[in-house]
Structures are given as C-alpha cells and as structure tokens.
Amino acid sequence: MTGASRTSIAQHAITPAIYLALLIVWEGSVRYFNLPAWVLPAPSAIAITSKEWAPELLFNSFVTLRETLVGFLIALVLSLPLAVVIAFTTTTRRIIYPILLGLQSVPKVALAPLVILWLGIGNWPKIVIVVLVCFFPILVNVVAGLESVPKNMLDLMRSLRAPESVVFRRLRIPIALPHLFTGCKIAITFAVIGAVIGEFVAAQEGLGYLILISTAQSQTPLAFAAILLLTLISVMLFYVVELLEKRLVTWTP
C-alpha cells in the first residue's frame, strides 16, 4: 500500500471513527454515572426503543417528510414568479418587499397558533408554516441572482439587440441558478424546522408530535429516536438539493 492511499483511507475513516468514539463515551458515561433513561438514555437504549417503535417512527417520519417536501415545493413554485416580478418592476418591489420583509421578521413560532386557528388541524396548517419559512430565503436569493448579471454580459446581449425574453433565457436564468440553489439549501433545512413547529402547536401525527408526547410521558429514548430521525431527514434533504445543484450547475461563477 502506498503512503498516499493510506492517508486517503485515514481521511475517510476519521469522521466515522470520531462518531464511534463519541457514541462509546456517551454509552460509557450513562452507565458509569448511572443516569436514569428519562434524563439521558444511552445509545443502546435508544436503539432498543427504536426497534420496538419502528412502525410508529417510520409512519411519523413519513408524515413530517411529506409536509416538509410539499411545503418546500409550494414555496418554490410561489417564489420563482414573484422573484421575477420583483426583479423587473421597481413598483412591485417597493410595495411587496417591505411586506415580505415584515413577514420574514415575525417569528414563525408566533404565527403558528394563528395559522392553526384559521386552517384547523389537518396537514395544511403545517404545510403553510413550512411555506412561510421556505419562501423568503428562496425569493431573496433568486432576486439577487436575477440582478447579479455582469454588465459586460448585458452589454454583449444589448449589442445583439437581444429581446428581454432571450436575455432572460440565455443569461439571467443561468446566472440565477447557483443563487436559487443557495436559497433552496437554506430553505430545505428551515422547512424541517417549520414542519416541527407546526406539529408542536397542533397535530396528531409527525415526528414533532411524537417528540412532544414521548417527553410528556418521560419516554425520553423515543424522543431521542425521533430527534435523530429529524436530523437524518434534514441532512438527507440537504444533500439531495446539493446533488441536484452539482448536476445542474456545472460552472463556477
């Protein structure tokens, strides 16, 4: 084995090794200090509980994932046309931007009870909260992207007397694409948080709901399992967006 490949294996192994070490320290300290499971469960206890509750955990993960994705996609569909309108008409920008900024400044947790008051306790209030949370980062980044076209490229298009539709297709979209993905990466992690906020306030299902009832009943290992699944969903969604970005944005600005 050469030195180079040995270091690369070491580099790949270092992250799992550290995680494993942390798990062992966690397990060890819980056992050594004899901590009760309702305060801090050992990893082994979490694993056992997860296995016991696997069907419930899977179902509630699915619920949360569905709310997150539907909300995210609705936010995407709404923010793209609005971003175009804002980028191109100064009046709309002057009217809409302050409203959006105000809306963005309101903590979504504060809005959640209202949304539920208006929409009842189905899936929709949670989805609406996800939309509210995702909408702004996507919008702001796409507007910035549409506006960040370098002047010399605009001059080139102008010298060809290109109609704005062509400038949009050939120039603004490619320029805005990396910005869109920046917005999406922020939004997708917010989306999971939004879904959990909604589930905390009023829900009969979802990982947030599961966390709420399991902690209320001192089923801390189950709460931990749900939190781990939430983290997993969040990280996985982030990487899916990043993968799409790598596929679609093949150039560096």
Binding site: M153, L156, R158, S159, L160, R170, P174
Partner: protein
C-alpha cells in the same frame, strides 16, 4: 484556409463601399458629474468610410474603448452627433459585430454555444450557423475545444472564441477592441493577416483598436493616433501600402516611415 467562401443562412449583404459607415461630429464623452467627472473623450470628429479598415492606437486610458462603445451604440455621447450609414446612431445594430476587450464568454456554455449566440438571438437556421461556427473555430485553431467550457481555455483562446462569435452572423461592420491582445506574436500575426484577408474579400468595414502600432499599420487603410485622455485625434493618415499585405510588408520603407511617425506622436507630449 479562407473565410471568403463562408455563407450564413441569411442573404449576404452587398459590400457597401460608398459613403460613410460611421460619422461622428463634435463627440465628447464625460463620465459622472461634479467633482468625480471624468472627461474621457473628445471633442472629436471622425468619419469611417464604408468598406475601409481603420486602426486606432493610443495610450492606455485615452478613451479608445469609450470611442468603440459609442460607435457600437452601447453608450451615448455627452455632446455631438453620430450617424451610421447616414441614419442617426442611437443604439446597437445587428449589422455590427463586436469583440470586447474582455472577451465576455458565458461560463456555463460550451465554446460552440458561445460562438453560436448571435445565431440563437437572431433565430438564424441552426445547421448553417453551426457549420459556419465550426469553420470559424477551425480557422482560429479552436476546433478541438468546441465542446469545452471557457474556463478550460487560455486567455488568448478565449479571445479567439470571442472573435469567432463576432464574425458568426457576418456583420457589415466589425468593431474590434484589442482582439489579439493576449495572443503570442505568431498567432497574433497569423490571425491578423487572416482578418486582413477576410476583410478584403468581404468588403466589410472594420475599426480596430490596438496597442500594437505594427499591427495597426499592417491591417489598416488608415491609422488614427489618439492623444492622452481626454482622447482626441492627433494623427489621421492613410496607409498607402499595397495589398494583400503579409509579413514582408513590415520591411517596406513606407511602413517604417509611418511607424516612426505614429510612435513619435504617442511618446511625445502635445504642445499646443
């Protein structure tokens, strides 16, 4: 290989050798206002005869690119009047091909897609435009890079690609802002002689900005030497050297004479 036999889908415009392609009178350009105002150019009068090749040389920052942008219709002058083929010049024209000083290629598109941009914007027939693009790329030694992205090309190669793009739609007038600036001496000479031949074959009008006096003389019908900023015309003389020109043209006594004259003007301060 020559480009003379190239044709695009559109009817090739007839060479227009009569009258002025561009006529500027009393042009000045001032950027900004108040304390920060920069008087970049003029006052200046200039008429470029249709079908002629005009070379412009001058010190850095004297307003050459500014002049080119005015003629391109991308900027408007602070004062003065501009005509293009007798009509008021108040915006860009599709009959004008431009090579910008900073090549300006789209980093997300391949070289071929970049070169074909005008065809796409003008909705020219795809196949014919593609054929012409490939021939232009071959002529400029970029054939193997047609499907590469710009970031994989050297500075000189990017400039050559921008040159191909400017020629793609066979424009009546070519505005070239130091198109060969980043090229080595040999490629530069080869490309500029190719440009010279092309221009002679097609009878297009060309305005070339360069910092290379020899290149200016070798290519031009006429050389214009500009003063320091604000750029005005210090010398405007015809280059009465025989065509077609080649590497040996530079050895002619008349060539050397014009070169000395221009060089002298660039490197001595004005006294008036």
């Amino acid at each position: 290989m020559s480009l003379g036999d190239l044709s695009v889908g559109q009817a090739a415009a007839q060479p227009n050798r009569a009258g002025s392609a561009v006529e500027l009178s009393g042009i000045t350009k001032v950027f900004g206002s108040g304390n920060e105002a920069v008087h970049a150019l003029g006052p200046l009068d200039l008429a470029v005869e249709a079908g002629s090749f005009v070379s412009v040389v001058g010190p850095s920052g004297c307003g050459k690119s500014t002049l080119l942008r005015l003629i391109a219709g991308l900027d408007s002058p602070s004062e003065g009047r501009m005509l293009r083929y007798g009509a008021i010049l108040d915006g860009p024209s599709r009959d004008v091909g431009i090579v910008f000083q900073d090549h300006v290629l789209f980093p997300w598109a391949t070289i071929l897609e970049n070169v074909m941009l005008p065809a796409d914007v003008f909705s020219l027939p795809k196949a014919a435009a593609r054929g012409r693009a490939l021939r232009l790329l071959e002529m400029t030694g970029l054939k193997d890079f047609a499907s590469h992205k710009p970031h994989m090309l050297s500075g000189g190669m990017k400039q050559r690609a921008a040159f191909c793009r400017a020629l793609l739609a066979d424009p009546q007038m070519l505005l070239l802002d130091e198109p060969f600036g980043a090229l080595d001496a040999l490629t530069r000479e080869e490309l500029s002689l190719e440009l010279s031949r092309l221009w002679q074959d097609l009878g297009r009008t060309a305005l070339l900005i360069t910092h290379d006096i020899e290149e200016a003389i070798l290519l031009g019908d006429r050389i214009i030497v500009m003063s320091k900023r604000p750029g005005r015309i210090r010398l405007d003389i015809p280059i009465d050297l025989p065509r077609p020109r080649d590497v040996n043209t530079a050895k002619l006594p008349r060539f050397v004479e014009i070169k000395q004259l221009a060089r002298g003007l660039i490197f001595t301060p004005e006294q008036d």
